[in-house]
Symmetry: C2
Subunit: 719 residues, 2 copies
């Protein structure tokens, strides 16, 4: 799949995560090839950054035209360097990169950070050059980061191989960015906001290493408590999911995924296809991998700071302590809007607050310590709230009023923030007056938000991550199916040069995978039709079967509610005659006699193929719910049982399935079963690129579900 | 209505807007009663603020225990002051306020800013004191701001009658806050962000003046380009709407409305009632008044800065100029998500960009001047974009890269921002590196946003406001109705002591207001029933009519599809017998013989009564769309025709009315007509507190709509 996009995927390279961590983030020695005297040049800046960050190992500048640089001896080429070189930072002009990489391989380097631009991003020639350098590295057993990147930083090992102007502080956030320029801006912003990072990686063209490798590496990195990323696209959907899922089971991963070029502009003909876009696939894949998707860069940092500084909450119940009503209401509103809960205090907490707070204070949640509160009163309220077993997290709000002790209160909040089990967040609102307090909060690892709503946003993300961590790991189940029978049908269609399976073929495949279909027999004579109708049981449906007639109704090729033998005889003749009138030379295989399915609730199952993530399964209620209200849910196949169940519950119109207006609940288990079978089918046969079961008629609970109509489209390519 | 909440409304006070502006915002002289030597005291701070702000007129401190204060002569009481006093600022303890106000009236003061707390907010005694001071002021012809407020600021007239620690800069934003503490925080924040204000008002308990008066005053205030407010509740819904609408026709009004106490906890029995909450009423009223509702305080300021600094765009088409791809994509994504459009450049623009930008640049929108762009290249791109007739607004993105000329580029953007017709916004991303640029932008009145998405948010608000300004002013239409007939029905029900109108009564009211109802006659004998059925035309529906039987079906009191004379005779007997079996002593008025309505699309019209805004009209599709999907729209009555039309189009399931799957479009005009008639009905009869037309059966376009069932509930109180 990777090659479709000209990308070399990582799955075909051995997963030496430890090696990557070591080679790129804590190399014993570094060479900067292209280090230059020109102070405006990138090569100069990279060398200077490396020195200023205080990299402890040997740093070898390489430049054939210089002797010494910034106090270091300069070497004419890599091979002339006396000691071993672990990491090579490449800042030479594009045409020289290949030669430098050959030298690097010869020198035994483990990794190369290729800052140089002018590859894939400039067109076909650049792409050829990029493939060439990738080949050199791969054959030499060396990994590449880039090309076309800002570089890489590890604050703990004091490695700064970037041309960024700002040196970030040490922190717990690992940051991966597909945009180098955005990274420059973020670094500058982070320095002034005193946001610290563990590792910073610019991905650039991802010729070799991608976000996937970084997720694997950061998973094992004790210095990174939270991983954040800005991505414009994903290299390899299934590896991405695996790596992200493994990472999120250990630490949170927050991503801003920007639109970029929508990869899926392929013309589509099914309902599923028209609803499933690249964004639906990303959303589904992110959900299934436990990734928190941030809508904006602001959210990304609001959320990651909370993860970096504070423990996860054990539940949704938030306590708020404030010295003013207004901000308390704003926070409460945000809680309600976002699905967090305000904790109900235990009676002891209320008693304790009532005892120690003035009469005008509010002892219920939000606790209002009122405008003249000093640090001691905040202390009482915070201690009481944190001690309450009904409280899972705490948000402290402060407005700078006449009596407010901003710094002392910040110290109280910092001590509370070190309780170790319940997260404490703050919103000290204001500017200069609160600035000294903010400094104390920052040093004490309590995240502060200018406005209370943003703190709530961060808590909501923490709560969602908590829920993800509680989700048991689950594998797709293996249903009992007749894979051979399905394979045979598909093989025959392929041999006949068809990509759209005929009605009977699609039915055959579905039946092989255990979906229940209406009783159905192909009659080739009127008498046979009568016999089949008796076997199936009246009333029946009769339909023309011909590869040349796709729109059966238009051709007069369908009769429903056929009641008895006489009607079957008449219908058989009429259908055949209509069909031949509709298309004179139609190849008529016969007339299908089908069971009349009892009415029930109609749902749609669909599958499309996303270029990044593969098969995307859709679920929705039939008819207008899908067509007009676009009320559908998506997951990437293969589905686990709980994912299939969540899909069913996730649609807005779910109550219609659960039963409203005295209707009995629909057989939800049968829907889940059908979803799992469809998922297994497309996973077993990747050549299926579109599938619709429309409708699946669902009976009341226990009554099962019947796939009345099915469509299957195979890829035109050979698999 | 005001009195229900213990609020004195403003509508009964003459609207002397000019006087309010003058008395409170540019008084000739000010007295500070309660000015004190105690530097920690509020009275001291207020006096100090007034002096530091540089108020040009006489300032008279009043304090019986001091002679001089901060270099000013102190007076023992108001009456001793030699010259006239326009504005009195009251900072004395609560028990002394009444006496001060009496003096103020005696002294001929026009207004009083009552900072003192301890009134309504502390309970019944405080409320009584508040009513007392309000009475004193009203009888004395003096207006009151407060009590329980931070105070009031006018930066142009150099008036600062607050105890805030920060002195805000001069600017174009008028800010009204119902929370004094929030205001304190905002002021502090605004000073460090260099956000300027024209006027700042703390509303507190709103004993007299409220946001309504401020909206009226700010409408006439040439110094305020945009009005922003933090509100927890509204004093008088209908006056609020009038004042807000008048204001928004002239300048933008952005409000954060926090939840506060939901006023409407009255038990409700109708669908409409269960869906219409206080929030739905606020949303509807805000929409109808052109108010931009900000979700968070952050949004409030992001939006108001754009209005304050830049002109309105003439359309939705945005041009983006950036020196990096990533931020450009983020901005583009935000545009798409929020309904803005990226402008398609004219061919000349593309040619011009191609001529002056390097080959690697993107000359399409977003224009990427690439990472090494200096100010001159930004200049070329900005000039070209602004000159393009397809461009309505411009967003300039900058990441601080090695070659970036931050200050010079900021100067280019500032010059562009002075073009006078197309708004220019910036997102210079970063911290210290971009800070000098931000300063230039600020001084040059180009709003800057840390992240591009926030800039887009501001542009979206500008676009919505532009659309509002284009909305023609429209009055509710007067439909021809038989008001007397409806009044008679309601009068009789009242006389009979009923608040729920009977079926026939409700039908009578609806018919009087011109809704089409099914043919319907009340038969009191079987023979009469046959006669009526023949007149109406078979088939018919028959229903028991009895004030004692509300649930007709449960009582076996309904027969549908009655086909001929014989069936009518049988049905008549059966219905009567069933009814008496159901309730032995039921007062049976007869059996209604009704037209069987042709099936059509079923919609619901409903009305509830909101304590703030009055009648709230709801619209939705019948059945599960309302019940399960909660797919409804609301507007406050009386509706204008275009509001009614928007309501119909606003629901998600609107396509079902417009016609899907080959269905003809429903008669939308008939729905709008019915909505307007219902709106007029409840406006004419305020005693109707609940109304449901469920269903209104709508025929295909031109076919009209029939109100099949109607419910009307009157208030228990006398009107």
């Amino acid at each position: 799949m990777g090659e479709i996009f000209g990308v070399v995927t990582t799955s075909d390279v051995s997963e030496n995560v430890g090696d990557i961590l070591k080679a790129f983030f804590s190399p014993a020695s570094v060479a900067v090839v292209g280090a230059s005297r020109n102070e405006k040049g990138l090569g100069h800046t990279v060398l200077k950054n490396m020195l200023e960050m205080g990299f402890p190992g040997p740093i070898y500048p390489v430049n054939p035209k210089a002797d010494g640089l910034l106090g270091l001896k300069v070497y004419p080429d890599l091979v002339s360097i006396p000691g071993p070189v672990d990491l090579v930072v490449v800042v030479v002009p594009q045409p020289l990169v290949a030669a430098v990489l050959r030298d690097a391989v010869a020198k035994g380097a483990k990794g190369a950070v290729i800052i140089t631009a002018g590859f894939r991003e400039v067109g076909p020639e650049g792409l050829a050059a990029e493939k060439e350098i990738t080949r050199i590295a791969r054959e030499g057993g060396m990994r590449i980061l880039g090309p076309n990147i800002l570089g890489i930083i590890d604050t703990k090992s004091r490695l700064n191989a970037t041309f960024a102007a700002a040196q970030p502080e040490v922190g717990d956030i690992a940051f991966v960015s597909q945009s180098g320029a955005l990274l420059t801006a973020i670094l500058d912003w982070a320095v002034s906001e005193q946001v610290g990072f563990s590792k910073i990686v610019s991905l650039g063209n991802k010729a070799d290493l991608s976000e996937i490798d970084m997720f694997r590496a950061f998973r094992q990195d004790p210095d990174s408590r939270v991983v954040v990323a800005y991505l414009e696209g994903v290299t390899n959907g299934s590896e991405f999911r695996k790596a992200a899922t493994a990472l999120t089971k250990k630490k949170p991963l927050v991503i801003v995924k920007s639109g970029g070029t929508a990869a899926g502009s392929r013309a589509v003909s099914s309902h599923t296809g028209s609803l499933a876009g690249s964004e639906a696939a990303y959303d589904a894949a992110f959900k299934q991998s436990g990734i928190l998707r941030a809508a904006t860069m602001q959210d990304l940092f609001d959320i990651s700071l909370a993860f970096a500084y504070q423990p996860l909450p054990a539940g949704k119940r938030l306590a708020i302590v404030t010295n003013a009503g207004g901000p308390g209401i704003l926070a409460t509103d945000a809680c309600e809007r976002k699905g967090l809960q305000l904790a109900s205090f235990a009676p002891e907490t209320i008693a304790r607050l009532r005892e120690h707070l003035p009469r005008a204070a509010s002892v219920y949640n939000p606790v209002d310590v009122i405008g003249d509160a000093q640090a001691d009163r905040y202390q009482v309220a915070i201690d009481a709230a944190l001690a309450d077993p009904n409280v899972n997290s705490l948000l402290v709000l402060l407005t700078p009023q006449a009596m407010t002790e901003i710094e002392k209160t910040a110290e109280v909040v910092v001590r509370a923030g070190q309780n170790g089990s319940k997260p404490v967040l703050a919103s000290f609102m204001g500017g200069e007056a609160v600035a000294p307090g903010l400094q104390i909060l920052r040093e004490g690892r309590v995240p502060n938000y200018t406005f209370p709503e943003r703190a709530v946003e961060a808590l909501v993300a923490m709560d969602r991550y908590r829920e993800w961590q509680l989700t048991p790991e689950e594998q797709p189940v293996e249903m009992k199916v007749d894979r051979e029978a399905a394979a045979e049908v598909i093989r025959r269609a392929r041999e006949a040069g068809r990509t759209a399976l005929g009605d009977l073929e699609a039915r055959g495949v579905m039946e092989a995978y255990g979906l229940r279909l209406p009783g159905n027999k192909l009659a080739t004579s009127a008498n046979e039709a009568v016999q089949f109708a008796r076997e199936i049981g009246y009333p029946v449906v009769m339909k023309i079967v011909s590869p040349d007639i796709l729109h059966k109704s238009d051709a007069g090729g369908v009769r429903v509610g056929v009641q008895d033998d006489a009607e079957v005889l008449a219908a058989y003749k009429a259908i055949r005659a209509n069909a031949l009138r509709y298309k004179r030379d139609a190849d008529v295989w016969g007339v299908a006699v089908q069971e009349m399915v009892k009415p029930g609730r109609e749902v749609i199952l669909g599958v499309t193929h996303d270029p990044q993530f593969g098969h995307l399964v859709m679920f929705g209620l039939g008819g207008i719910y899908v067509e007009v209200l676009k009320d559908v849910s998506f997951r990437v196949a293969p589905l686990t049982p709980s994912q299939a169940e969540t899909m069913v519950h996730e649609i807005r119109s779910f109550p219609l399935l659960a039963g409203v207006r005295g209707q009995p609940p629909a057989d939800l288990a049968a829907i889940v079963d059908a979803l799992l079978r469809v998922s297994q089918l497309v996973t077993d046969f990747p050549e299926i690129i579109e599938l619709d079961v429309n409708p699946l008629v669902v009976n009341p609970a226990g009554g099962g579900a019947t796939a009345v109509d099915a469509r299957i489209i195979l890829t035109g390519e050979n698999h």
